[in-house]
């Protein structure tokens, strides 16, 4: 559905050339939901704008829905849906915009009205269909944006930071809609995000971008398993006996002993747990607790780049250069966040 080779783009500004995207390769299959994950300024928007024909690439080629994004611009534009980065919304009315967009997709007035009505129900827009887009809450506006991008039932949908600035409830609602879309129509979805959770929970596959380059592309599980598996911690008084059992059951697992017990790495720890608990029981090793910590995508990003992705719910940094003191503070904050993020266990089992 989407295929790109060596896609690149530089912005020429007064202060010099910004190499925003430097040779991105992408393959997205039909019906896939792919998350394009990267920190602010990684080149996500630039890439999406090239794939949606809004920006002409400096280098490389790409086809979307079988059409070249430069040579067959009009065909690509007809085939895709595009929901841009969130914005203020227009003064035009929701119902009016839905119908206009449907007409612009070539529908007759009657079809456009019917489609607008259908989308109004589906995305629960009834309560504010008569209001201007500019007077909606963030979550309401996003639903309208999504409906506008879907009026012509596109086979491929591009979303740029769809849940940016949304409260958790609106975000969950948006995800439900996206999942429904895929389940019902098999729509291919390509979304950019800097939220780990979004990439993790919503997407079949994650393409990680940093500094204008793709640095990894895999399922969330596979990416996390690169970390060397889950972290299992056993709390017990009989440390050496526990260590013996673990070493027998999982040879070569990076076993560490701590004052309170033992800790080791293993892929798919969940599957190992029942057997491990039985073996420990048989060896008469009494446990205080067992915990399994899954590596997060942030661990993955940290491993790949040496930096942490910013965590949820933080506003994007201001584009204007900040005074040095503030920058240092912000960096310290980010570092602190990174620590909390890596320490937060995803799964914890206590016996």
């Amino acid at each position: 559905m989407i295929s790109a080779q060596g896609l690149s783009h530089s912005y020429r500004t007064r202060f010099g050339v910004v190499e925003a995207v430097r040779g991105v390769d992408l393959e997205v299959a039909e019906g896939e939901m792919v998350g394009f994950l990267g920190p602010n300024g990684a080149g996500k928007t630039t890439t999406v704008r090239m794939l949606t024909t809004l920006l002409t690439p400096d280098g490389g080629t790409a086809t979307v829905a079988g059409h070249d994004v430069v040579r067959e611009r009009a065909a690509v534009r007809r085939a895709i849906g595009y929901v841009g980065q969130s914005s203020g919304g227009t003064e035009h009315l929701v119902s009016d915009e839905l119908r206009t967009q449907a007409r612009l997709q070539g529908m007759t007035a009657a079809d456009a009205a019917a489609r607008a009505a259908e989308l109004t129900v589906r995305f629960e827009l009834d309560a504010f269909a008569g209001r201007p887009l500019s007077r909606l809450s963030g979550g309401q506006r996003r639903r309208v944006d999504l409906a506008l991008g879907l009026v012509h039932r596109p086979a491929v949908l591009f979303l740029d930071e769809p849940s940016s600035g949304l409260d958790p409830q609106s975000r969950a609602n948006l995800w439900d809609h996206l999942r429904g879309l895929r389940a019902e129509h098999g729509t291919t979805v390509f979304l950019t995000t800097h939220y780990l959770e979004e990439a993790d929970q919503l997407c079949d596959r994650i393409v990680v971008i940093d500094g204008g380059r793709v640095i990894a592309s895999d399922t969330a599980e596979a990416l996390k398993s690169r970390i060397g598996g889950d972290v299992v911690t056993l709390e017990t008084d009989r440390i050496s006996d526990a260590a013996t059992v673990v070493a027998r059951l999982v040879p070569g697992c990076d076993l560490d002993t701590t004052p309170a017990g033992v800790q080791f790495h293993v892929a798919h720890a969940q599957r190992l747990l029942p057997e491990l608990l039985r073996a420990l029981d048989l060896a008469d090793v009494a446990l205080e607790s067992v915990s399994v910590k899954r590596p997060t995508l942030d661990d993955v990003f940290l491993r790949l780049t040496g930096r942490s992705l910013r965590e949820e719910g933080r506003p994007a940094p201001a584009p204007a250069p900040a005074p040095a003191a503030e920058t240092a503070e912000a960096a310290a904050e980010t570092a602190a966040e990174a620590e909390t993020a890596t320490e937060t266990p995803n799964t914890e089992v206590t016996t």
Binding site: G88, D96, Q101
Partner: protein, 252 residues
């Protein structure tokens, strides 16, 4: 989809908005109405001056005011499209089956209609103030105003899409507007101008349009003044359509 179909859809969308908020149209008339009420009467005493030909001074003043109103519309129009860029609306519309030129042309048509409506209201106001002019000529002058509206809107969209920034656009329009106005004789006829100034004014296309509007208000349909002015306005409109269409195709 054809450009005509897209233009029609966009024209109607923009028109619905304008009709929902007619206050903006009226608001845009405050300034010219003030000119009409507070500047126009000053001219009555100088009806013997060159350019007025001893006739009804409103016949000279009002056509200039209509063209000035057209020039000023560039500000609203340009800021309008910049807000549609900023809100992502324009990009959303570009990703569709619609042609990009139609997205511009539909808006330009609305702007031309709004300007013409304002011209009608202003002229009605001028009638109250004392304007007397042949009906046929005034109607033809309105048609020329429509062409001016198209031209100004197209140039405004082209500029706004090129600079893409409210502040830069505002400054640019200011910088272009003042000489375009002063060198066109909108407020006082250029017959009052010294030789060098009238030469400069001749190089300004807007001055020919103002001259044609005045000729039409005097009922001169076939005069060379009218024909030149109409031709200049039409040429400007064609250039404007091309410029706006090119700007949206290139905008990123």
């Amino acid at each position: 989809m054809t450009t005509a179909a897209t233009s029609w859809i966009i024209f109607r969308r923009s028109m619905r908005y304008t009709l929902r908020k007619p206050a903006w149209v009226v608001f845009g008339l405050v300034q010219p109405m003030l000119y009409l009420a507070l500047f126009g009467p000053l001219l009555n005493r100088i009806s013997q001056a060159p350019g007025f030909d001893g006739g009804n001074t409103w016949r000279v003043f009002v056509p200039g005011l209509l063209v000035q109103q057209g020039l000023f519309s560039a500000v609203f129009v340009g800021f309008g499209i910049l807000s549609e860029i900023r809100s992502g609306t324009l990009d959303r519309m570009r990703i569709s089956a619609a042609g990009e030129s139609g997205l511009m042309l539909g808006r330009m048509l609305r702007d031309a209609v709004v300007l013409t409506a304002q011209a009608v209201l202003l002229t009605l106001g001028a009638l109250v103030a004392g304007l007397r002019a042949p009906v046929g000529g005034v109607l033809a002058a309105f048609a020329l105003v429509t062409v001016v509206g198209l031209a100004v809107a197209g140039l405004a969209y082209g500029l706004a899409l090129t600079v893409r920034h409210e502040e830069a656009y505002g400054q640019l329009v200011n910088a272009l507007m003042l000489p375009a106005m002063l060198l066109s004789g909108v407020l006082l006829p250029l017959a009052l101008a010294p030789h060098w100034l009238s030469l400069l004014a001749k190089a300004n296309p807007v001055s020919h349009v103002v001259t044609a509007e005045r000729a039409l208000f005097a009922g001169e349909f076939g005069s060379s003044d009218t024909l030149v002015g109409v031709a200049v306005a039409a040429a400007l409109a064609v250039v404007a359509v091309w410029f706006a269409a090119r700007a949206i195709r290139r905008s990123s």
